[in-house]
């Protein structure tokens, strides 16, 4: 491909623009990383910018140095190991029928709306708790998996992708006598890598990051997933003061222990590590996909 002068100017401008955006996105991280390794008094004084002042790993030690940290890490891994496959299975099984046209699947609209409505209506804390309780999931890992087992947003993204695939691929399979399951497994899935990678990422991040359900559905702290546990360690003084209106010296003592900016920053980085590990791995699927599949088809 020959490059015109205009193209070269564009490429330069584009790169500069992307660089600026990238810097804006990364700067707070560097700041927070510096904060997480700084001593809390320097942080309280607002001295820390992009490098640690009074370098210390005490915030990380404070968070990780208990049995509870390891326990909650295990629960989180368990949750992801159960939750993500369940999500993926249901996403694929749901997205495929919904990606059919009305001619091929007469009831598709009814089902589409059936799922979309659940995005809109959130029943609130107590009714959801009641359902989880009556299905016997309280204090069980499944309370973190089943209620969120059908991520409708991801279903729609996957459905949209499958719908945009060239129809010829499926028709060829149909003529070859393939049934729906065979079509899905042999034709659709192999070319859906980018979408599968995308929804896997979303599902992984969603499971990894949610903390509220762990707090509500688990009775024992040993059953908390990592993010729920971290929320009990890192408390914002403002929130503490609001939740404890009758503060006495006994309670006020906690405020000296709370250094929410350093531990909060450390918490964020610890929690992000797995995502940062998984992300590049999934990323390589974003650029393949149809190129590979269309050769096959």
């Amino acid at each position: 491909m020959k490059t015109s002068a205009a193209r070269r100017v564009f490429v330069v401008c584009n790169t500069v623009l992307l660089l600026v955006v990238a810097v804006i996105c990364i700067a707070p991280f560097v700041n927070l990383l510096a904060i997480s390794f700084s001593d809390k008094v320097s942080v309280a004084a607002g001295d820390v910018t992009f490098y640690p002042i009074g370098f210390t790993t005490v915030a990380y030690e404070f968070i990780t140095n208990t049995a509870k940290f390891t326990q909650s890490l295990v629960v989180s891994f368990e949750r992801v190991a159960l939750g993500v496959p369940v999500n993926l299975l249901l996403i694929v099984l749901t997205a495929y029928p919904l990606s059919k046209s009305v001619r091929e699947f007469h009831a598709r609209h009814i089902f589409s709306w059936f799922f979309v409505v659940t995005i809109l209506f959130n029943a609130g804390l107590i009714p959801t708790y009641m359902v989880v309780r009556y299905t016997g999931l309280i204090d069980s890992i499944w309370s973190l998996v089943l209620p969120t087992s059908v991520p409708v947003f991801s279903v729609l993204v996957a459905m949209n992708f499958m719908r945009s695939l060239p129809k010829e691929m499926e028709e060829a399979a149909y003529i070859d006598g393939a049934n729906h399951v065979q079509t899905l497994v042999r034709v659709i899935l192999p070319v859906s890598a980018p979408t599968i990678a995308t929804v896997t990422l979303f599902s992984f991040v969603a499971h990894w990051n949610s903390w509220f359900d762990g707090m509500i559905y688990m009775n024992k702290i040993e059953h908390y997933p990592l993010q729920t546990y971290l929320h009990t360690v890192v408390v914002n003084p403002a929130e503490f003061l609001r939740a404890n209106t009758d503060l006495t010296g006994n309670l006020a003592k906690y405020l000296t222990l709370i250094s929410h900016r350093t531990t909060g920053a450390a918490q964020m980085f610890l929690a992000m590590i797995p995502v940062l590990v998984v992300y590049p791995y999934l990323q390589k699927y974003f650029t393949t996909g149809l190129v590979m599949g269309s050769v096959k088809g």
Binding site: A44, L89, D246, T248, A252
Partner: protein, 549 residues
């Protein structure tokens, strides 16, 4: 990728059903006879469930767990009670409160549980969800426990309805809610100033702080006079509570309902004294004595300004040396001290505190098999912590370990201030209860420098030394008859519960706008009208009936 789909899904759906089936607990066990005596053990082991309130950074020592720890073993050994943990949740955030509400709605209450929420307690009582503890209390409580009832009569009254006791209250009173003026020692020295006694002196000092060089960095005017935070009327640091108190307004969040001198029910934020107070704040703001950006600063954002020496004076609560002034002490060795609030000529100052009838309560569910167990545990707690020597105290109380007992006497160090004062005068801790002895040691240790590096010592010292914040209440506010207690106990009118947030928004918004000059001081009158119309008047009327004179 050929999944045995059906099998997997079959399993998925079976799991909840199976868990449900195995989740059943045994029922119908015959009741074990209650052992006689306050500390008598049950003949057969009984089991009692309870919910644990954990707090940020609360820790388990040795190899203790929430299920198996020093308290659970002691209770088993002495009383033959097996403690079962129903659930554990953090009470330094909303976690415990949220979880408890869900558990209440589901009807899964544990035998023994706590709440700080007056409304939750009230609704549980009104809907017969709680055991009436009156008789078991009478039958089992030790004399020592009953003596607390005399000392904290208000707290017990708050836990009673129609003369029946429905909870073990937090044993405390709220005199320490009062506001104080906190100033950094070095700024006073650097400006050759004395702590202000009057509002005029306060303004003059703020002027000096704002325009001079109190931090000694060679730059004039890079500091603020008086700190304010955006929440203004809540009891925390850099609120306006102390300033308005000088003008006879006993403010304290949205709690302060009280009868005025003529016996009429009234509310703090509609007092006429607010007008000169707001006018003063406005003029201080216009003259740059107050941070122009205070509307964006919450209390934690202010900590930064205090620690980095941009602020040196703020109204605040009694625990200032615990937080937030501990940071600057640690960093620069600078001590911040509490002073009595400066007063305004022509006004009787008034400080507001919450009703002594509200606070944490420990309850027993209505159909608990052994309602007397809570009293036995309470007796055991009192015996162990207060009458069994230092070792027991250190093992069972210190380092927050008291929280592992299902019911505890949360007597904070505030309560023992008069005893600590006597000991300080005598120069000896002899005869002090274990609890107060620790305070005494901290105060003395910080003063003589032996505990200068100890966080707890600085914290306690600031509260409990001869001129500490608590003594300001005892030796100044109380003799001056300046303390006003809110009448708002457990029962609250509907008009209040529905409208309180709107009324709070009205108040904070109006005050903020007046202070920053967006509206004239006269707008205060409009605010009062609005406030009364938006449910304020209904609340006053309802309270007048609910809490007769």
């Amino acid at each position: 990728m050929k999944w045995p789909t059906v099998v997997v899904l079959g399993l998925l759906l079976a799991v909840p059903v199976l868990t449900f089936a195995s989740g059943e607990t045994d029922t119908g066990a015959a009741r074990v006879a209650a052992a006689a005596g306050p500390l008598g053990a049950y003949e057969e082991p009984i089991s009692v469930s309870w919910s644990i309130q954990t707090a940020a950074a609360s820790k388990l020592l040795d190899d203790d767990t929430w299920e198996d720890n020093r308290w659970s073993r002691l209770i088993k050994e002495k009383l033959n009670i097996d403690l079962e943990v129903a659930f554990t949740a953090d009470s330094s955030t909303d976690a415990y409160r949220t979880k408890l509400n869900a558990v209440i709605a589901a009807g899964d209450l544990p035998d023994i549980f706590k709440t700080q929420d007056a409304n939750v307690f009230l609704q549980l009582v009104q809907n017969d969800q709680l055991a009436d503890l009156t008789d078991v209390y009478e039958a089992y409580a030790t004399d020592s426990i009953k003596s607390y009832q005399e000392r904290f009569a208000d707290a017990y009254e708050g836990a009673s309805f129609n003369g029946r006791l429905f909870a073990i209250p937090r044993m405390n009173d709220n005199f320490h809610n009062a506001p104080f003026l906190w100033i950094r020692d070095d700024w006073l020295e650097n400006t050759n100033s004395e702590p202000p006694n009057t509002i005029e002196e306060l303004v003059a000092l703020a002027e000096l702080f704002a325009t001079g060089d109190p931090d000694g960095n060679g730059i004039d005017g890079d500091t603020y006079g008086l700190a304010l935070n955006r929440d203004l009327i809540r009891q925390n640091h850099a609120s306006i509570l102390g300033l308005v108190a000088a003008f006879g307004v006993p403010g304290h969040g949205m709690n302060m309902f009280y009868r005025d001198d003529d016996g009429n029910m009234t509310f703090s934020w509609i007092q006429p004294g607010m007008k000169p107070a707001l006018a003063l704040l406005n003029s201080m703001y216009e003259r740059g004595l107050i941070n122009q950006e205070f509307t964006a600063k919450d209390e934690s954002a202010l900590v930064e300004d205090w620690t980095s020496a941009r602020i040196g004076m703020a109204y605040g609560s009694n625990w200032g040396t615990w937080y937030p002034y501990n940071n600057v002490y640690k960093r620069d060795g600078v001590i911040s001290r509490a002073y009595p609030i400066p007063t305004a000529a022509g006004y009787d100052y008034k400080v507001g505190i919450q009703s002594n009838r509200v606070g944490q309560v420990t309850m027993v569910r209505a159909d608990a098999q052994y309602p007397e167990a809570i009293i036995k545990i309470l007796n055991l707690y009192d015996e162990t912590v207060n009458f069994s020597g230092d070792d027991a105290f250190n093992r069972y109380w210190a380092d927050e370990q008291y929280r592992l007992s299902p019911v505890y006497i949360d007597i904070p160090n505030e309560v023992y201030q008069p005893e600590v004062n006597l000991a300080l005068e005598r120069g000896s801790a002899e005869g002090l209860p274990a609890f107060a002895r620790r305070s005494y040691q901290y105060v003395v240790g910080f003063a003589d420098g032996s505990l200068a590096d100890n966080d707890n010592a600085y914290g306690t010292w600031g509260q409990q030394n001869e001129n500490g914040s608590l003594n300001i209440v005892l030796h100044r506010y109380q003799p001056d008859n300046a303390v006003v207690q809110s009448i708002l106990a457990i029962e609250r009118p509907d008009a209040w519960l529905t409208n309180v947030s709107v009324l709070e928004t009205l108040a904070i918004t109006a005050f903020t706008e007046i202070i920053i000059g967006q509206r004239p001081v006269e707008y205060f009158d409009t605010f009062v009208e609005q406030w009364l119309r938006a449910g304020g008047q209904d609340t006053l009327d309802a309270l007048d009936e609910m809490y007769p004179e």
